[in-house]
């Protein structure tokens, strides 16, 4: 049984590889690729919110920075054409640098103030891209971005090759996040999340540890931005609003903050809600004579997910054992500490 659960990730990864080949429906593959980009975003935000416990409400800003970095350096905009594969590193690096720039002055703030500052940052970044129209194309954004190519094969408008790139990035990110969680840094994050004062007194440098979470989370987002922009062939400031940050946050909350399988599940549920379930339900309603467009209720549903999950199941659908015991703090503290120990010491 234990062996089976150890094999599970590989089985799921195998399913993810063959899924688009079986489905062979362009729309579905396109959906899978977009959903994959959001899985990447959710994995990154999970490092910040789930592991380190820092509520970042402006996460879409790093997504925007990754996307615009790619768009400016791989498009006819300035006639610079750096290859996509190089840009993956550049975009995640630039996003990480901005993560540090935002984090360095603000990470001393208390949790809820930090949330508001990140929210402000999330508003400023797209607004700045909108205003600096001589470089960014203003409200129209930047179009006809370069398509990646590998060994002479040029990605077209077909979503399939992008899907595999995203899948590979997800696999790398899951491995990275998983190793980080068990590392010294990951345990420091969790210590800070539980009790910052105690963590500081135990000798953890809380500022650099939190900065690392911000930078690493931002770099995931930069990766997602780079590949998402190249797939869409377009960036524009309206793709990166507060609703994107909240959508990613609801993926985390729904799935289970801090738990990688939970986060992936949450983001897949919300992506399919967005792209399949709501349009389908609207069609069904139309069929029985009710003209009510449920796709307009997207934000109502994100909001309801946030409220109901926090009220009734704060650990999410697939929690890590440790997180569950923390959030039900009235339970056995000793048991919580035991699981903390068990998870930290493999």
């Amino acid at each position: 049984m234990a062996r089976l659960s150890r094999l599970q990730p590989y089985l799921l990864f195998g399913v993810a590889i063959v899924l688009p080949l079986i489905a062979s429906n362009g729309g579905f593959v396109n959906f899978l690729a977009d959903a994959g980009a959001f899985v990447l975003l959710a994995l990154g935000l999970n490092v910040v919110v789930g592991f380190a416990g820092l509520l970042d409400l402006g996460y879409a800003a790093f997504f925007a920075i990754g996307s615009y970095t790619f768009a400016m350096l791989a498009s006819p905009q300035f006639d610079i054409h750096i290859p996509f594969w190089v840009m993956l590193f550049v975009a995640s690096g630039v996003a990480a640098v901005f993560g540090i720039l935002l984090g360095a002055p603000t990470l001393r703030l208390r949790g809820d103030y930090l949330a508001i500052v990140t929210l402000g940052f999330g508003e400023i970044v797209p607004q700045t891209f909108l205003n600096l129209s001589q470089w960014t194309g203003g409200p129209n954004g930047i179009g006809s971005l370069d398509q990646p190519s590998i060994f002479g094969y040029r990605f077209g408008f077909d979503a399939l090759p992008y899907y595999y790139v995203i899948l590979a990035l997800i696999a790398i990110s899951v491995l990275a996040a998983n190793n980080l969680r068990a590392s010294r840094l990951g345990r420091a994050w969790m210590a800070i999340r539980e009790d910052e004062l105690a963590a500081a007194h135990a000798g953890i440098n809380t500022t650099t540890t939190k900065l690392a979470a911000f930078a690493i989370g931002a770099s995931f987002s930069g990766l997602a931005g780079c590949v998402y922009a190249s797939k869409l062939q377009l960036v524009s400031p309206d793709q990166f609003g507060f609703n994107v940050s909240v959508a990613v946050l609801s993926m985390l909350v729904l799935g289970g903050m801090g738990n990688i399988p939970g986060v992936i599940l949450g983001s897949l549920v919300i992506s399919s809600l967005d792209r399949f379930i709501l349009p389908q339900a609207t069609n069904i309603l139309h069929g029985i004579g009710i003209t009510f467009d449920l796709t307009n209720s997207r934000f109502l549903i994100y909001g309801a997910i946030l409220v109901l999950t926090m009220l009734f199941r704060p650990e999410g659908l697939l929690p890590s054992r440790q997180r569950r015991s923390e959030l039900h703090a009235h339970g056995d503290v000793a048991a919580a500490e035991q699981t903390l120990y068990n998870e930290a010491v493999p």
Partner: protein, 303 residues
């Protein structure tokens, strides 16, 4: 120079609206240390309720004389009552259960409530801006080079009057004393026989009613609104509350007027596209260099 003086007047009246919203943020933060994210949307709700009431009254344009006063009072009271009740319901549904949960939990439900309110208002009045009838006759007052519109006087007078009433309530009545006690130490207040739940609900009632009043005057002031209006207004008002010193009533007022001035001057000197960027930068700078705000006292961290 003339334009600058004119922008100062505009900034003060804008600031009156932010100040009214900021009072609600600061009261709620003072008592339960929660950034009530849905507060900005309660403010928008105030504008929409005022619109509905004006529709019921059949008011579509300028009214004069005693009728104007009656219209303003009735509409604003309706908006205040509706928003006050909305605030109490939000607290009951989304925050009360999480009072002893980790701090970020109620903040997340607050964001959720904000999204729910926005979506409900979008169903109600559609996704595009909705015009608000121009109630006030416009006998502009000319003071030298500066022109002050009647609606600007309304905003400033109303904001100051509300502030005075609120101060009297908080510092001179028994319920106000209960509120201050609860803010200082919830458990001790409870041991002294204060009903915590009622006191917190009352705080939400008053704070949200002030947002409702702000919603009404902002409708008159701007002449239109839309469902998403509360997002940026709420953020600016929160910035105002932090700038003045969160938890401090006079601070919220001062912060509101300052943010209004900053916004008007940015519009004048740079461009209105940058006003959000400037206001958020102010927020970040205040939080970094003077987190207790202009009038707030430094509190030791609660361990």
């Amino acid at each position: 120079m003339d334009l600058l003086l004119q922008q100062l007047v505009n900034g003060l009246s804008l600031g009156g609206i932010y100040a009214l919203i900021a009072l609600g943020y600061t009261m709620v933060y003072g008592i339960i240390e929660l950034i009530n994210f849905a507060h900005g949307d309660v403010y928008t709700l105030g504008t929409f309720v005022s619109l509905a009431v004006l529709g019921l009254l059949g008011v579509t344009g300028v009214v004069t004389g005693p009728l104007l006063i009656a219209t303003v009072v009735v509409t604003m009271l309706a908006a205040m009552i509706a928003c006050g009740l909305a605030g109490v319901v939000i607290e009951r549904l989304a925050y009360r259960r999480l009072r002893n949960a980790p701090r970020l939990a109620p903040l997340i439900t607050a964001i959720g409530m904000s999204f729910i309110l926005e979506n409900v208002m979008q169903y109600w009045r559609g996704p595009s801006p909705v015009p608000f009838p121009d109630l006030m006759p416009n006998p502009d007052v000319h003071l030298g080079v500066v022109t002050i519109a009647a609606k600007q006087i309304l905003v400033i007078v109303l904001a100051i009057a509300m502030m005075v009433l609120l101060r009297l309530f908080v510092y001179r009545t028994k319920l106000g004393k209960a509120m201050r006690a609860t803010a200082q130490d919830r458990e001790a207040a409870q041991l002294m026989g204060i009903d915590i739940n009622t006191t917190i609900a009352l705080t939400f009632l008053i704070g949200s009613a002030l947002a409702g009043a702000a919603g009404f005057v902002s409708g008159v002031y701007y002449g239109s609104t839309w469902f998403f209006n509360g997002f940026s207004a709420g953020l600016k008002a929160f910035t105002a509350a932090v700038l003045g010193g969160i938890g401090n009533l006079a601070g919220a007022m001062l912060g509101g007027f300052l943010i209004g001035l900053i916004e008007a001057l940015t519009t004048q000197l740079i461009s209105d596209q940058w006003s959000n960027v400037v206001v958020f930068s102010v927020l970040v700078l205040v939080l970094i260099f003077r987190p207790s705000g202009l009038l707030g006292e430094t509190l030791p961290a609660k361990v």
